[in-house]
Point group: C2
Chain length 463, copies 2
Amino acid sequence: MPCFLILRLPLFLVFGGQLYSPEIEKLLKQKKVKIGSRVRITKGRGSYGGILMPQTDLGNPNSIVLKLDNGYNIGVAYDKKLKLRKLKGGKKVRFRPSRLTIRPDPTKPMVSMLGCGGTIASRIEYTTGAVFPVFSPNDLLLSFPQLKDIANLRGHKLFDLLSEDITLEHWQVIANETAKAIDKGADGVVLMHGTDTMHYTAAALSFMLQGLPVPVVLVGSQRSSDRGSSDNAMNLTCAVTAAAKADIAQVMVCMHASINDDYCHLHAGTKVRKMHTSRRDAFKSVNVLPYAKVSYIEKPGSIEYLREDFNRRNGGRLVVDDKINSNVALVYTHPNIKPEFIDSLRAYDGVVIAGTGLGHMPTNPSSDNLAKSILPSLKSLIAIGIPVVIAPQTIFGRLNMNVYTTGRMLNEIGVIGNGCDWTPETALVKLMWVLGHTKEPNRVRDMMLKNYVGEISERTDTR
Amino acid sequence: MPCFLILRLPLFLVFGGQLYSPEIEKLLKQKKVKIGSRVRITKGRGSYGGILMPQTDLGNPNSIVLKLDNGYNIGVAYDKKLKLRKLKGGKKVRFRPSRLTIRPDPTKPMVSMLGCGGTIASRIEYTTGAVFPVFSPNDLLLSFPQLKDIANLRGHKLFDLLSEDITLEHWQVIANETAKAIDKGADGVVLMHGTDTMHYTAAALSFMLQGLPVPVVLVGSQRSSDRGSSDNAMNLTCAVTAAAKADIAQVMVCMHASINDDYCHLHAGTKVRKMHTSRRDAFKSVNVLPYAKVSYIEKPGSIEYLREDFNRRNGGRLVVDDKINSNVALVYTHPNIKPEFIDSLRAYDGVVIAGTGLGHMPTNPSSDNLAKSILPSLKSLIAIGIPVVIAPQTIFGRLNMNVYTTGRMLNEIGVIGNGCDWTPETALVKLMWVLGHTKEPNRVRDMMLKNYVGEISERTDTR
């Protein structure tokens, strides 16, 4: 097992200055205001009082960051009409990088931690113009000392983004950095990621990382660390456990499994979806069981496998296949959806339609129907070589386009997806990935219907 | 309690003829083929053998209906190249209207049954060019004799559509026919409806039927009546029970509650969603409990209330407010969604965006982000007076756009929905209904944020 001196890793984001724009720096100087001063900013109808915070290297340098008395940070965009007044009071704001000295334990696995954003690894709420979005293994150990009992940690921050702003290019960066970490001997990789689009990223990595020899575990936090109910400690502990010990060489999402702080689920990267805006157990496996449970309370660190159909750790060679095409649209059908809406998609290289029920959309075979069919528009798209893929807007369940006329009609015109049980999100990501490899319609169809990484489950329990 | 002689109600769809187009009639005559003959149809690469069925008054008269040997019906569109050959064999196909004589029981409530489509009330699978899509209370009682112990039934068929083909105009017809039935003394109304878009219709009726004095219950069936596992008998029995006896004067969906045939749930019309392509318990209440359980096995016909926040039966006056605007788009955001996609929505009167997490979309506040923000496009839509409403693509949970920068930015530009917990479908239907009343942006906002019929729940259990 490889062993690295953690302290030799660089701190990737040592806070070096205020990082404000020259205009703001000038204003601050003029008003004799320093980081930590209490100030009031008035702009238009808004007025905000709080402590002046440093801007970060990722924040907008033309925006002034205040910590309000309620503890939230806000950023106020600078303009010439903005008024800033120094108030009495204030406090010392200083960044203290971790000076912890931890000797790696050669008997423990090495887990590589890569930061993509999300509150999970932040010592301070990062999204509102974050004050110290610092990430290093040592900083992590400062907040979560229990991790050193599980594995030796190394890693760095790739970027620090709200996950709704993660793009296909970020997926490629994550895939390649993950491969690098594995190449350097990591026994598992943990990716800290915002939760909003974590399931999109997990699906993308599942297709991009082929022949994975070790676990790749995405983890996030539904509640930020300044809240008592934060799920970051448990999720992170379970994720590091999974990366260090789970005999599952797949891309997974590790998140709270229940409403209690008792265990996490390891979900297959292509079969998981965020199903709640705020609950800690928001992530659910769709149409399959999670790979495993990771215990946090009862038998800390124990892994209970719930399935057998996954790849085990192996000595194989990882291939990164990160070709991807962003020119794909996702459309949900609904009553009175307009054919023009479908017609407007001709500039795309592919279209995913989330249809109703078993795989239906308004096609109106009956002549006295009052709505317009979208069938001719779909036919036209397919005729000019744009693949149209269908997924169920019910989220759960499998498409069966043999049962009803509508499904059979869609099948006949060449809509791809009959028999599949992918979520709309996984279908979208897969079509993006497939179209990164070919635009030839028959090849696209073959690749879409090939089951690469369990994105099409073998059977659905329909009861 | 009003009492009607059921036998005096007309059969609305007595099968009168073949209802084929003159071209097809000519072909059949020429080939000496009659309804019930065994034939083979060859068209292009396809060849189908089966029994010739009559076309229905709702089917496409230019399409030939065959019952295949596997029991499924198919419709083959006529064209001049189609070849039809008479084979040996065949059977007598005759429509036998019900001759049941049932005396209404003056001690029982009167339930009005309106047919909108769906397999639930069909004696034969109706969707593939249905042979006898007959609907009358007597026909229902033939299939489900237990219903007469619950209530006196009357009613008729409004239309017979696959629910994916139901339109806003159908919602209006259903609303007005429901009002008529209540006006004529129904103690409750059951609407038989296909399941694919049943939750859209339920939401629409919830807004359209104001001051409802009695229950209005939508019911469907996930498995057609020719399958042993059909849920039609239980769902219909529970729906008639609810319409006859439940002290809930709301629009509801009555469907299988579990994987067993033991009870149904009565879901609030605005807070329910089809969550599985095929399971019988596909319909789930979102962010609230169902109004009630209707027992089928243990205590047949008993209703257990699970909430108290609904209107009771009352003597009030029902007002049908069916103004609605179909010119509304629904968009799901995802990584790399294009600003051009949002820009293309300028011809709509309103837009619903299903965002990620607590109410986010790619807005990229950070300058080093590689993707394009859709914020300017949304701003432009709002600037030209197009209301933009947000709903959570997680389906479950409540929007909270105060927590993160992205949410606050969307709030600031005027996106409507902060604090709401509607599904994307209910948000879409509500915006359609609101835009039927006004296009004035402030009035649209006020109406959207007003809680008309429980579509915004008072609190969410987020744990």
